[in-house]
């Protein structure tokens, strides 16, 4: 594994499976009465958040604390692009505090790349502008894998993956390996243009062998999206019966004002997942959303709360996946020997 996790493209297929398998092992910890491991005792993890994101921050915080790391929350909102201390000064401050890992959320695409040039610790991208959000993609892949019975812990893995060749995680007593996502059809719906979740998922799900289909109004697709390792369409209704996974993205009200679509109601009619559309889905199909949801816009309340919905699982799985990332990047495996 690379020292940093900035893009889903930093992960080879083996790397990604290693993270997911490790997350499977660590998830079992969460079922214990005492949810804590000593693995990262004495290590310092800084949550550096230039944007409000309570759910991602507490997910990383819980992950680091369950591994016994010291956690410093550095909320730098307001000192970002427009004013205040520069990113470099913030980086030097963290460096002086001896951060072993910096989890960064920033509204500027590429901010984690810059940070990685100025700090010695591992940089973990918790979402940068419209670029990437790799731990979201990992938790999504993890959630898909569990729902489709391909996890190491599920006992029903179909062996489609190559598994990982490394013997880490012995400190958690891990057993067998899970499979990849080969052949699963994942449809991602919504504002692809501005979505870091979509970018990371396209890369990671492709790495893991899934077939990704993007559905969006043409205005919300990047130019040259045809060069991405996925297919593109504008017709949600045609895509639904062919999907194993439907992932709905949040659509921002301000996109309407910039003429990306005429109105929220029209967007919802053409690209929202309502009860009628959910009825077109095959029995096995799951519905995902990275949150926070706009109920009644891209997803109807009845869909969000249906048994197909994995929204709550995604949140829980986020902690396990982030524990795995911290564990692997901070060399927890070696220290456990």
């Amino acid at each position: 594994m690379n020292r940093h996790l900035i893009s889903a493209a930093d992960l080879s297929r083996d790397d990604a499976l290693l993270v997911l398998d490790t997350a499977d092992e660590l998830a079992r910890i969460s079922d214990r009465p005492i949810k804590k491991l000593p693995t990262l005792r004495g290590r310092t993890v800084v949550n550096l958040f230039f944007e409000d994101s309570t759910r991602t921050r507490i997910s990383f915080e819980a992950a680091a604390k369950r591994l016994s790391a010291d956690v410093i929350n550095f909320s730098a909102k307001g000192s970002s692009v427009a004013k205040g201390e520069s990113l470099k000064d913030t980086a030097l401050t963290l460096e002086a505090m001896g951060a072993d890992a910096v989890v960064i959320r920033h509204n500027a695409s590429g901010a984690p790349h810059r940070l990685a040039e100025w700090v010695h610790g591992s940089v973990i991208n918790a979402g940068d502008g419209a670029h990437e959000h790799p731990t979201q993609a990992l938790l999504d892949a993890f959630t898909i894998r569990r729902r489709f019975g391909r996890s190491s812990g599920s006992g029903t893995g179909n062996g489609g993956g190559t598994g990982s060749g490394s013997a880490t995680g012995n400190g958690t007593g891990r057993g067998g390996r899970g499979a990849a996502l080969d052949g699963l059809r994942v449809t991602i719906v919504g504002d692809i243009l501005h979505s870091r979740v979509a970018r990371s998922n396209v890369i990671l799900l492709h790495t893991l062998g899934a077939e990704v289909l993007l559905i969006a109004p043409p205005t919300l697709l990047p130019v040259a999206v045809d060069t991405w390792p996925c297919s593109i369409d504008y017709d949600l209704d045609a895509a639904l019966p062919k999907s194993d996974v439907v992932m709905m993205l949040r659509v921002q009200q301000e996109r309407m004002n910039a003429a990306y679509f005429p109105s929220v109601r029209e967007y919802s009619r053409r690209y929202g997942l309502d009860a009628a559309r959910m009825a077109q889905l095959p029995e096995r199909t799951i519905v995902m959303h990275p949150g926070p949801m706009n109920r009644g816009v891209e997803i109807a309340a009845g869909v969000a709360d249906s048994p197909r919905s994995t929204v709550v699982e995604q949140v829980a799985n986020g902690v396990s996946v982030r524990m795995a990332v911290l564990y692997l990047l901070l060399g927890g495996a070696e220290d456990d020997q």
Partner: protein
Amino acid sequence: MTAAGTWLISGARPLGGDPTDIGIRDGLVAALGPGAAAEVGPGAQALDAAGLIALPGLVDLHTHLREPGREDAETVETGTMAAALGGFTAVHAMANTEPVADTAGVVEQIWRLGRQAGHCDVLPVGAVTAGLAGKQLAELGAMADSAARVRVFSDDGRCVSDAVLMRRALEYVKAFDGVIAQHAQEPRLTDGAQMNEGEVSGRLGLAGWPAVAEEAIIARDCLLAAHVGSALHVCHVSTAGSVDILRWAKSKGWRVTAEVTPHHLLLTDELVASYDPVYKVNPPLRTAADVAALRAALADGTIDCVATDHAPHPLEDKETEWAAAAFGMTGLETALRVVQEAMVETGLLDWAGVADRMSARPAAIGRVSGHGQPLTAGSPAGLTLYDPEPREAIDPAAHASRSRNTPFAGQMLPGRVVATFLRGCPTVLDGKLI
């Protein structure tokens, strides 16, 4: 004792041709050829230029000297030092200073600072609109009549996007043979734009600057220039589509000229994947296909000249996340070397072609007297002696510019400017400022 201002440059190759001697006296080329030594006499200072190419002194139509206002980035003094070291004898100083060069007073101030510095001629560009605000014309006539004799007008950094204002500006400057140099960027299509819109911007999640935003303005302005019979110059052309439009406009015989920057001849948007803002520039780095089209257009004359768009910025304006960083790259000290790499080494231009695109044509477009003349007896003695042989890495720390934001740092590039002469006096000798 040697005669001041009298030089015998021996063994130089004018425009890359056969070695010959060049005699300089009283600011003029006194003689060229075997008789030069006799013409300037034994008292002339000798300069052995064996193996060096002699070019007419380079003229830059597009330089940001930053003074007044941003002396932390550059001053007229440091900027013209960089220019001389790059082989330039004249630079056009863009108007986006603080205060804006939109009155006779400001352009005369910049012109005087250039005269005092003495490293090269400084030709102020006047703003087209007051305060670059795009609302009303600046006093173009007053700037034209001032001591600075402004002939090139530009809101560079911003586009004169209002079609009526652009038409009026084009018409108005006909009275004093002026030219409007347009920064072609449709503002609405580039709101918040960070880099070329294409495969790389989609991958990096950076807001795109589409080629059409440049091409639409160029097409409109060519039509306006034709309609009113005025001279349009297009700054920093960056796309293959722009080249097609310019080729079409020139085929009609319209008075349209264009420039390309050295960086757009060599670099592509793939470099942005590092998120290092040293590659952040406006217009943005484009694709390899655009680079190829720009090179071909410069070779066939569709693009008239190279202009540096030298845009110095202090470190703190570049040592940031991408979106927060300033647009711009330095260029004066690397321009000729980049042009050698992109155009000469590729066989697209010979040295006569380089002289045409970096001296004669920019001087003609800028209505600059005393520059861009052929190297013949009687011409003003502005010339650059250039060694095309060495190949060394670019070292920003060695630059005279006050800023270090060159995208070529560490890159191996050919060539070395050995000497620059301005009106018969050296501004650079042995690669060092006089």
